[in-house]
Symmetry: C2
């Protein structure tokens, strides 16, 4: 790894639990950096290292990614991407109200949308062998569809959430992709098209290839 | 309600589901506005109105609060508070790196912390009568304590998360308060003290009285 202080460093899994499907949160930051054309270094970490004091000093919850840039250390993918969007053009609109709206979509992706997505996907992937799984599944499905229906209505036939592609779309797509293998997205054609459009972006593809190479 | 365009308007429940305990998300925004000394108008909404097109045009997920200021409409409490923090001093540090860190704590409160908090509190309050409740409770408790332990370690004996009180603390405290009546916080004395310090702030108390008056 080069020691060039002007190039930021992000942390990523040495061996990602999703086996290269780009669902770990370093992918969001890689994609944002590719969108603005900023090169970066990667510091790979094992699961064991994430739990130890040196890493916890960078990231208090032992999660991926942390971000280092000169004497600034940041954590939370949303905050890192906001920092990148403030330093470079291309991720947030310049006009004041449009910028505030795009930031609202960033928070929406990470709160209103990611809360039920993580709850559902955790249940779907990690509680399948539990005694309560079949009884509780209808409730879990009701909750995720309640959110997806509203998101689908809001998206309508637009290419992106509001105006041009923004950091709000980048975060929203990475959050929604966590549902892909569960099958719940298949009844929302416009959401599937939205994810597909995002995945076709050259910056997305460069970021995907970079995380897969690890 | 006055029609003064320079004063923002927020939406709130006509009849809050928490009966005035300040757990609805309009409280966060009221508190932020009180911290910076900005007066505001309140537009009260019934549950029925939240599901209808006029309200969904303000807030696509039919949630409380939405925020109106001249021709800007915002949603997501995090985004509204960030907008207030950019317009006024008092919620984010001026120094660049400290500001980026405080923004990281805002995202942390609304993502890393609020995800398990909402999952746990929804389970605790709304699934108590379900057949799976007792069997699943240990797993739900393990998840919430895993996060709380790390937060408690990070907080240590500090008054606030990092340096002076910031929008990161404001959001973190409102998120943590959702756990108060579940009893899971009682083993984290420093977190309880942190919430207590926040609740003692004059701006908190003014905001609390204002939402209670409704």
């Amino acid at each position: 790894m080069k020691n060039n202080n002007s190039i930021p460093t992000i942390t990523a899994f040495k061996s990602s639990p999703d086996r290269g499907r780009g669902l770990a949160r370093d992918f969001r930051v890689r994609w944002a950096l590719e969108e603005v054309g900023q090169s970066y270094n990667v510091q790979l970490e094992t699961f064991e290292e994430l739990k130890k004091p040196p890493y916890l000093a960078l990231q208090p919850f032992g999660q991926i990614p942390a971000y280092k840039e000169n004497d600034l250390v940041l954590f939370e993918s949303g905050a890192i991407i906001f920092h990148i969007a403030e330093k470079h053009s291309g991720l947030l609109p310049a006009e004041e109200n449009a910028r505030a709206r795009a930031i609202a979509w960033m928070f929406c992706a990470l709160n209103t949308v990611e809360m039920p997505v993580v709850e559902f996907s955790t249940f779907f992937f990690f509680e399948k062998d539990k005694s309560w799984y079949n009884d509780r599944l209808p409730l879990a499905e009701e909750r995720i569809h309640s959110m997806l229906k509203k998101l689908s209505t809001q998206l309508g036939s637009s290419d992106w959430l509001e105006g041009d592609f923004s950091a709000g779309d980048l975060l929203m797509v990475t959050v929604l992709r966590r549902l892909e293998s569960s099958g719940v997205l298949k009844s929302y054609q416009n959401i599937c098209g939205y994810i597909f459009r995002a995945e076709a972006r050259p910056a997305y593809q460069r970021a995907f290839a970079a995380q897969l190479a690890v």
